[in-house]
Amino acid sequence: MTAAALFVPGGVGVAFAAMVLWLLRGDRRSAADLLVHLSLAVLAALFIGFLAGRAIRDPGPFLEVLLSGLLSGVLYSLVALGFVLIFKASGVFNFAQGAMVLVAGLAMVRCLDFLVAKGLTYWLAVPAALLFAGLIMALTAWVIERFVLGPLVNQDGLTLFMSTIGATFVLEGLAQMVFGSDVYPLRLFPTDAWFMLESVFAGGILVNKLDVWGGLIAGVLVAALAVFFQNTKTGRALRAVADDHAAAQSVGIPISWIWFVVWLVAGLVALVAAMVWGTKLGVQFSITFLALKALPVLIIGGFTSVPGAIIGGLIIGSGEKLAEVYLAPMIGGGIEYWFAYVLALAVLLVRPQGLFGEKIIERI
């Protein structure tokens, strides 16, 4: 047992370090790069090896932390997905994604409350409220395309980014003006705990059912979106518009339609995120700050990659939970709040396009 407890984590750590170095193989230009990459790989190997040691010593709690981390990571991915979609299709970092989650959530929960108060059965009211929120997102997409982005075709990416900051404030203000600004509880998914594998580990592994739902939904969304972007006409058109407005127009891609579609899809993804997060936290203004947590996810996964958003979310979610539980005794608590950003910084240092992003090739 002692030998295994020593060598297995070490082996896992070394394997992980090798993997990190292999991932970074193409980007080394100088000795300094090599040094940075090596030290990062060593740090990562130590962390992973340390975790592997803990996993061997006490697998039950470790699995529990890992699983809850992975599942909450999926929830980050849901928000990050909306960013990726719009970035892929218009080259714009959409600052308003968090606000869109708020709009979608408020529209849904208020409509649901209203219908239930009118005496409609709950399971009839839910689809109706979803439909209503979907329509609100479609309206939002149309308005943003028509009045914010439409007039800015062929403008610089930074100009478009600034316009989404403006849209953020308008959306947040309007949504709270129309739907109210309290905390509205939402009960769409079961939130009770669920014990698995009780026969294997003493006491079993505690999993939140809501997290499992979130994971399932995100998986389906990603599979669908990945196929859509890779293999369809509209998917290609979206990427074409992101690269070059004028060239896209010249082959007959209708930019305004494409932008409407992409903001609509991002709005619907925001609605899904609002369903899950609203159940977790209640629909409230602070939901817009989810955008901040999505940022490191995007940096790790790459701004242009749908699968990247998921992998990034999983890395962040599990990383921060594991760090919080296992590192806190050594370096103090509160790790959960900054760990994601440190991970993102490390990735920026060695692979600015993210793990799955499109490599930017500049010709001079």
Binding site: T232, T234, R236, R239, A246, A247, V261
Partner: protein, 274 residues
């Protein structure tokens, strides 16, 4: 229209045309950006099946003219008649869907995509399946995708770029990028192809290749071509008729032989003593 041409070139010399009917006519078009007059009262036509060159010194308004035809710029005055329909201004989508395709002076490819995907974007307007069918990616939408892929493979063979099918275009040398861009324009099955300096920055060999492709497109596919080019040898070899712009105005129009000897053209290119 014809009388106008004769008057400008040289009275009495009849203009020989390879082309058939007028495909596109630009009439009295003026375009200005604020106080800058990019195009002043320019009229000319492009006939079906010909290769029409637009030449002139830098800043003469050649690219602006293509942008007007293709709908990126909307002229303040004048009309564009394309396939019998008269318009004050084209819109890019209308231009593309009615058969006008173009390439750009500075290559405008979708850099993140492979050669194959870039050319596939040219099929956008030919693909009919709705967004829901695509979202499901099942049956009809998938078949359509495969059918258009075959067309694109044909274009790739035609342009002899099989070896770079899967390469991201950002990694390609300039000459090949221009060829991919031509491929993307061809994928739209254009009736009128606008080429903005297709040979700029190329070496002799690449120029010869590109010239061959332009001629092949014109002769084998019957596509009408309007091209801007600075290399006079290429212009004189390729084109059936040439229109010359200078400071936004048309100064000559006719066959290469006629334009070459025109005093206004010589003055514009060599400068004239005031």
């Amino acid at each position: 229209m014809k009388a106008d041409v004769d008057k400008v070139v040289a009275p009495g010399i009849s203009v020989e045309c390879k082309g058939g009917d007028v495909l596109l006519a630009v009439e009295n078009v003026s375009l200005s950006f604020g106080g800058v007059k990019a195009i002043r009262d320019v009229s000319f036509d492009i006939r079906e099946g010909e290769i029409r060159a637009i030449i002139g010194p830098n800043g003469a308004g050649k690219t602006s003219m293509l942008n007007v035809i293709n709908g990126f710029y909307h002229p303040q005055q004048g009309t564009i008649t394309y396939k019998g329909a008269k318009r004050q201004a084209m819109r890019p989508y209308v231009a593309a869907s009615s058969g006008i395709a173009r390439t750009f002076q500075n290559v405008a490819l979708f850099k993140g995509m492979s050669t194959l995907q870039n050319i596939m974007t040219g099929r956008t307007l030919k693909m009919r399946k709705g967004i829901l069918a695509q979202a499901l990616y099942w049956g009809a939408a998938k078949n359509e995708e495969i059918r258009h892929r075959e067309v694109v493979e044909g274009i790739i063979d035609f342009l002899e770029i099989q070896h770079i099918r899967k390469t991201p275009v950002g990694k390609l040398p300039y000459g090949l990028q221009k060829r991919v861009e031509l491929g993307r324009a061809l994928a739209t099955e254009p009736e009128l192809l606008l080429l903005d300096e297709p040979m700029a920055g190329m070496n002799l060999e690449e120029k010869q290749d590109m010239s061959r492709f332009v001629i092949d497109v014109n002769e084998q596919l019957g596509t009408t071509i309007a091209l801007i080019e600075h290399d006079m040898a290429v212009v004189m070899d390729l084109s059936d008729r040439v229109v010359v712009l200078d400071y936004g105005q048309k100064i000559a129009d006719g066959t290469p032989e006629v334009v070459q000897k025109d005093q206004n053209v010589i003055d514009a290119y060599l400068g004239v003593a005031h």
